[in-house]
Amino acid sequence: MNKLEQSSLYQLTMARFRLLAREPEAIFWIFIFPILLAAGLGIAFRNRPPDVLPVGATTTQLTQALAADKGLKAAEMDEAAGSHALATGAILLLAVEQPQGVSYRYDDTNPDARTARMIADRAIQAAAGQRDAVRVENQLIHETGSRYIDFVVPGLLGMNLMGSAIWGLGFAIVEARQKKLLKRMVASPMPRWQYLASFLLSRLVMLVIEVVAFLGFAGLVFGVPFRGSLWQLGFLCVLTSMAFSALGLLISSRAKTMEAASGLMNLVMLPMWILSGVFFSASRFPAVIQPFVRALPLTAANEALRANMLQGVGLNHLVAPVAILLAWLVAPFAVALGIFRWR
């Protein structure tokens, strides 16, 4: 045996690897699932040609005027049929011929209906002889970095870092406690810090595989951009993973059963899945809860990851999210060490 193999930290870390590698489910959830999710979302939200909006009109003349615009698909119908079509969502807008002009029926809370209103009005005015006062020209741009898949990949990365850290640490520790293995370990001369450090070390190595596999997939298949420094992206991933590991440690520091731990993990993770801007921007939530939303570690992680990948923002402009992540690393770790139940 060489010196490295005799070191208890090495042996503990290797044991963590072996246990993880021999757990097929863990491999699936950590490596395969995020890639499947990204693939699914990428296909669902792929860029399509601009939608053609369905509209209706009460006279042939109006219908022809509307159909002249490529953005609209117009059908002629009487008022009763038109009202029914509106109510069921078959059309977005109904143009009704009036003695003194035209009236539009549409739902102004529906963005598509508002668009239909603008296009329909333009088409009808043009048919009636209105001319543009200013000559305009359209230049169309479809840039990577502004698509939904570009938005969601950093969010999924953050969510995956959270899940693998909290589940990986939490379940393993609580299981060891429940099976009295933890007690057996502290009955040996094993340094306690090494036991916890072995989790962080194995996490760091798994992290490299996990992040490279996921981002590699997103980059190759969807062409998701990497505009920031890759080293800084790596640093952000490590910081995020360590912060969530500390949280996982805190969650598992007292729990005696897997059920209790699993409940606690859901309690911690569920709000962040919803609030922290994984699938849609966190800024959509009311201003009242924004301070709370901003203080969540996953919000900070997603914000920093997006800024790095999509806008190429450097760490020097990401002080706030990095500080939040650091706080989430230090505070739970300190508390967890203080209250950790070793038996």
Binding site: E5, Q6, S7, S8, Y10, Q11, L12, M14, A15, R18, L19, R22, E23, A176, K179, K180, L181, K183, R184, V186, A187, S188, P189, M190, R343
Partner: protein
Amino acid sequence: MLLRGLRKAFADVQAVDGLDLEVTQGECFGLLGPNGAGKTTTIEICEGLTTPDEGTVELLGLNWSTGAGELRQRIGIQLQETQFPEKLTVEETLRLFRSFYRHGIPVEESIRTAQLEEKRKSRVGGLSGGQKQRLAMATALVGDPELLFLDEPTTGLDPQARRHLWDLVDELKQAGRTIILTTHYMEEAERLCDRVAIMDHGRMIALGTPQQLIATVGGEDIVEFAVGSTQVPKAGPGAPDSDPVRCVVDAAQFTAIPGVQSHRVDAGLHQLSVSELHTTVPRIFAALKAEGLHMSEFRTHSATLEDVFVRLTGRNLRDE
């Protein structure tokens, strides 16, 4: 190992209630008692896993408050219900535990001692109960401990696996290690231990070599029998519940017989502790015949620690 005035209470249960004990080097010492007697609490206090409410523990001239690191290196521990990670192999588990100790025996040697050579590459999850217990023993041995704690090492094992483990403990004894083990099997303590302390309700109720303790029962042999009456018992309305057949026999009748040291009745079975079996038994037969009673069962066995416990507490060990 030296224990002085040890006390520990959990909630409203006084688990250990004033215990003094001394174990010398090279001795195999047994803590014996029914479930809930305080054996495990006592041994965990000794192992530094539980802090006593009162009292002191001294091991190898050290104590847990100042010499914990040193002590952990020099003792070996096998806990009652450790489940090692199922997906590690025997060898990996032992290599892991070996890495915690500065000095110790090679992993290969611990595998050989525990007779797990054939299983060295097998995962822990696939081991039998006895093999798991031997693995636990091996993890306690890799640090080459001077003092070994075994907490109910054979509980839940089948007789063959138990005998196998006893042989292992025997070998460790031969090698001169100090061993402290708990058990609720009397035969195990008799077979393995140089000295035994019997515990009940957190107190030590007897201490000595198995032979000394057995001698306190009085006789060397135990005679057990049940009796029935040849006469039809008087069935009166006054005593419908009591068993008339057994009321006929009076304890004094038996203790009056020369050679009978004591008498007790357990579940309808009379137990006499007897010396000089060969002359006493005919006298018992004669006495019963004179009373017009006949025996429905009869057997004798040498007195065991079980009989010591019964005599001291009036209860059977496995009553709980």
